[in-house]
């Protein structure tokens, strides 16, 4: 048997509430708000309380999918990245960089989000970037 | 108002508004109510008729179901208590599951109680019908629960009540097992000299003086008479023992009872040695033997006793469909109250024994009523001691016409024509009655009974050579054990408690278990016999069915969400819920469940649902009020 609590930050919004994820035998089973965290002081909202639920959700994507012949097919990361890059490039070339928009996610880290906006602004050259937790 | 429907079907509700002659229609505007019904969600058919419960009304329902393809039926009429089964059977006959029927009471709840408020009554009837329709749209079809049954009965107790029940059932062709804790059946009757009920005399007032004199010679209470009690009970025992359908287990005690109506299983233990000894060798032998056992108990290791018991007991295990509890009661044994000593101050029971043994010698007797009853701790009236006392007084009078007999009472309970007559006769025969005050009870000292007579306002002293205390019948210890084993309710005095004093006097609230005789409350032998026969017919009404069919309205527990907190188990009045520690859930036995819904209300996680009253249905009904 193995039970541990892992200190982490709520992925839902920009507040950054501290919470512990309960992990029982490598399965995330629950959320406990961190009492001493300066941000939330032992409180969470309804989203924070349920952050553990999506982790093992069977509907969660676990590998890249590309639509082929009208339906999604699992592909390797290389293939997915190549495909995305080529399509982005094509779109930019054809319609200009402002024709591309990026949606970021709260479920990834700040650094990753930073990289995404950097990519959008520097590499693609668009300001069309948004985030689901733009509170 | 909208309903999100869980079942993939389009609800087609038919509503039938009953005029009940003018009972409803006189107050409630049934026409406009019918029109209103058609505006309710899911209602495709609504009609009103003079009497929905009439043959024409029933036919109308059946035709409407067929013609309009109805899958829900709501009848707004009177109390579901009286007519729900009728309407349900109509649905069934028309091919609709009877549990897709809902009844709304607009007679008692609208037209009758709000007869002076027309507008209110109409508004309320619309509300109620709307609620009924809302609930109906969430109803689910259900199948009635069927179970098999064993056409045999267990009778616990071989007194007059138990013997009567056993012989009656065997007479109907049922298999009967009778368990008696004593080596001999017969119960308290074995110890009696005579029965008050045998005292049959023409009413004294209609007799001439010589006739009266001769009737007072009390021939009835001769030695022949005593043998008639013996004869009566022996006859009953013989009937029982010779009947091939009755198996009598004497010296036996119930160890466990499991199961439910139709399928009980009991385990009893029978003390073979005690049985054999008592039945074949004289009484003394048993005494020695039991002393022997006691001695051995004290000296020899426990294992020895166990092996002794093992050798000498027999386990009985049988399946039965019904159980009749006829455990009777035991006379209260005073502990030095009123100077009780067992020789000059004795109980009525001991007096009867002295009649039997022919050891009765006294000339001056005082009887004191209500000894140990109607006092704090034992507040009930034992009901039979007054007639016992008067009867015994008459016996003494018959044996020794010159004897002086005084009866000290608080209230005489001589109910019924014969008993009342016996009291008159006793007064006529010179037996003296004095009333005494509960607060100043008689004092018995050195053969003198002193008491305060509130009628005369003076203290009286009566010297006597025998004082007889009339003690009540009390529930026996064994019946207390049995109540625990069988989880039967007892009242605060310790007697078994029937389901309803007037409507179901011989039933327990648990189905298939019945009570009779003094196990319920002190009873005369006549009453015990009548109750025994009654219980037998109650049991037979169950046992002659081929299968038991039970309403589908029972609770069930969702084992996925149950966490075995036992709230439901604690609250269930019918012991229908058991725990399953392996799965960590509670379970409901649908046969025992009566559908009261206590558990469904108690469950904090809504794991319990009562079929036909599911949360969704009830909430739909409640939400429809607004």
């Amino acid at each position: 048997m193995d039970y541990r609590t892992v200190l982490t930050t709520c992925p839902y919004c920009g507040c950054g509430c501290g919470l512990y994820l309960e992990v029982l035998d490598n399965k995330v089973t629950g959320t406990i708000p961190c009492k001493t965290h300066p941000m939330n002081q032992g409180k969470l909202c309804v989203k924070g309380w349920n952050v553990h639920e999506f982790v093992h959700n069977p509907n969660r994507l676990t590998c890249p999918l590309v639509r082929k012949n009208g339906s999604f097919a699992e592909v390797s990361w290389d293939e997915a990245l190549d495909y995305t890059a080529s399509r982005l490039k094509a779109a930019k070339e054809r319609h200009g960089s402002r024709s591309v928009a990026f949606m970021a996610s709260a479920k990834v880290t700040n650094e990753e989000n930073y990289l995404l906006q950097k990519f959008a602004r520097a590499a693609i050259g668009t300001n069309n970037i948004d985030h689901c937790a733009r509170l | 108002m909208q309903f999100i429907h869980p079942i993939q079907e389009i609800v087609r509700t038919g509503v039938f508004i009953c005029h009940c002659g003018s009972n409803i229609a006189g107050i409630v505007d049934c026409r406009s109510l019918t029109k209103y019904c058609l505006t309710l969600p899911g209602v495709v058919h609504a009609t009103d008729n003079l009497y929905t419960c009439s043959e024409a009304g029933i036919r109308q329902i059946m035709e409407a179901i067929k013609n309009n393809d109805l899958n829900r039926v709501v009848v707004a009429s009177c109390s579901p208590r009286t007519h729900q089964p009728l309407f349900q059977s109509a649905c069934k006959e028309a091919g609709l599951n009877p549990y897709l029927f809902e009844m709304v009471n607009i007679r008692e709840q609208c037209s009758w109680v709000h007869a002076k408020d027309l507008e209110g009554a109409n508004k309320k009837s619309r509300d109620l019908v709307r609620m009924g329709v809302a609930k109906a749209s969430f109803l689910k079809p259900m199948i009635e629960i069927e179970s098999s049954l064993v056409p045999a009965a267990l009778v616990i107790g071989g007194g007059v009540a138990g013997l009567s029940a056993a012989t009656a059932m065997a007479g109907m062709g049922l298999r009967v097992f009778l368990v008696e804790k004593e080596p001999q059946p017969g119960g308290l009757l074995n110890n009696l000299y005579s029965l008050a009920s045998e005292y049959q005399q023409p009413c004294v007032h209609h007799l001439s003086e010589p006739e009266y004199q001769s009737s007072c010679t009390l021939q009835h209470f001769s030695s022949e008479h005593q043998s008639s009690v013996r004869h009566y009970i022996d006859d009953l025992i013989k009937q029982t023992e010779t009947n091939p359908d009755i198996t009598v287990y004497t010296s036996s005690q119930i160890l466990s009872v499991t199961g439910y109506i139709g399928n009980f299983e009991f385990i009893a233990k029978r003390d073979i040695k005690r049985d054999a000894v008592q039945n074949n060798i004289e009484h003394v032998a048993v005494q020695n033997r039991s002393q022997d056992i006691v001695a051995r108990n004290n000296v020899i290791a426990k294992a020895d006793i166990e092996s002794y018991l093992k050798e000498n007991t027999e386990r009985i295990r049988q399946k039965v469909g019904c159980i009749i509890v006829a455990t009777g009661a035991v006379p209260y044994q005073p502990d030095k109250e009123f100077g009780y000593n067992g020789s000059t101050v004795i109980t009525q029971m001991e007096l009867e024994r002295s009649f039997l043994d022919n050891t009765f010698k006294s000339d001056r007797v005082v009887m004191i009523q209500c000894v140990g009853s109607r006092t704090s701790g034992r507040e009930y009236c034992s009901k039979i001691c007054c007639m016992t006392a008067v009867k015994n007084a008459m016996v003494i009078k018959q044996k020794k016409p010159d004897s002086e007999i005084h009866i000290l009472y608080r209230d005489m309970q001589m109910y019924g024509v014969e008993n009342e007559k016996m009291l008159w006769d006793a007064r006529g025969a010179g037996i003296r009655f004095y009333v005494y005050n509960e607060k100043e009870p008689p004092v018995v000292e050195n053969g003198v009974v002193g008491f305060y007579d509130p009628l005369m306002g003076e203290f009286k002293q009566i010297s006597c050579d025998l004082t007889v205390l009339s003690t009540p019948l009390t529930p026996s210890k064994e019946s207390g054990c049995l109540a625990k084993i069988m989880k039967l309710p007892v009242d605060h005095d310790g007697f078994f408690l029937e389901a309803h004093a007037k409507l179901r006097p011989l039933d327990f609230s648990a189905d298939g278990i019945f009570v009779c005789g003094s196990a319920r409350y002190p009873a005369t032998s006549m009453e015990a016999r009548a109750e025994g026969l009654g219980a037998a017919s109650r049991a037979a009404s169950v046992l002659f069915r081929e299968r038991l069919v039970k309403s589908a309205i029972v609770a069930k527990i969702d084992s996925e969400t149950c966490v075995m907190c036992e709230d439901c188990l604690k609250i269930c009045p019918f012991e229908a819920i058991t725990r399953n520690p392996e799965k960590m859930v509670c379970q409901i036995n649908p046969i025992l469940c009566k559908g009261c819904g206590c558990c469904a209300a108690a469950c904090p996680s809504q794991s319990v649902t009562l079929a036909g009253f599911e949360h969704q249905q009830l909430f739909a009904q409640i939400r429809a009020i607004n």
């Binding site: - | 609230s509 009566k594 009261c596 206590c598």
Partner: protein, 82 residues
């Protein structure tokens, strides 16, 4: 009491009532709004009398405070805001 069709049902109900009365009172709902009385089927007049009295009492108390729909905007939130 004790004559419930479901044996101890009315005792259970009484316990709940005993619990709920002070509780709703604590939340500010008049405890008189919850009324329980045990009447047997033979005591019709008593039942009528009791219900009439209860309705009169309710009328006197006026509509339940819960009836006035709570408007979140009307709440003096300034007292509670950090």
């Amino acid at each position: 009491m004790g004559e419930c069709h479901y044996l101890e049902g009315n005792y259970t109900a009484q316990k709940r009532i005993n619990f709920l009365k002070p509780l709703i009172n604590f939340v500010g709902i008049e405890k008189e709004r919850l009324h329980a009385k045990w009447v047997s089927s033979a005591q019709a007049s008593e039942l009528v009398n009791d219900i009439t009295n209860f309705i009169d009492d309710l009328r006197e108390m006026g509509p339940s405070p819960l009836k006035s729909k709570i408007n979140p905007d009307s709440i003096k939130t300034d007292r509670y805001k950090p």
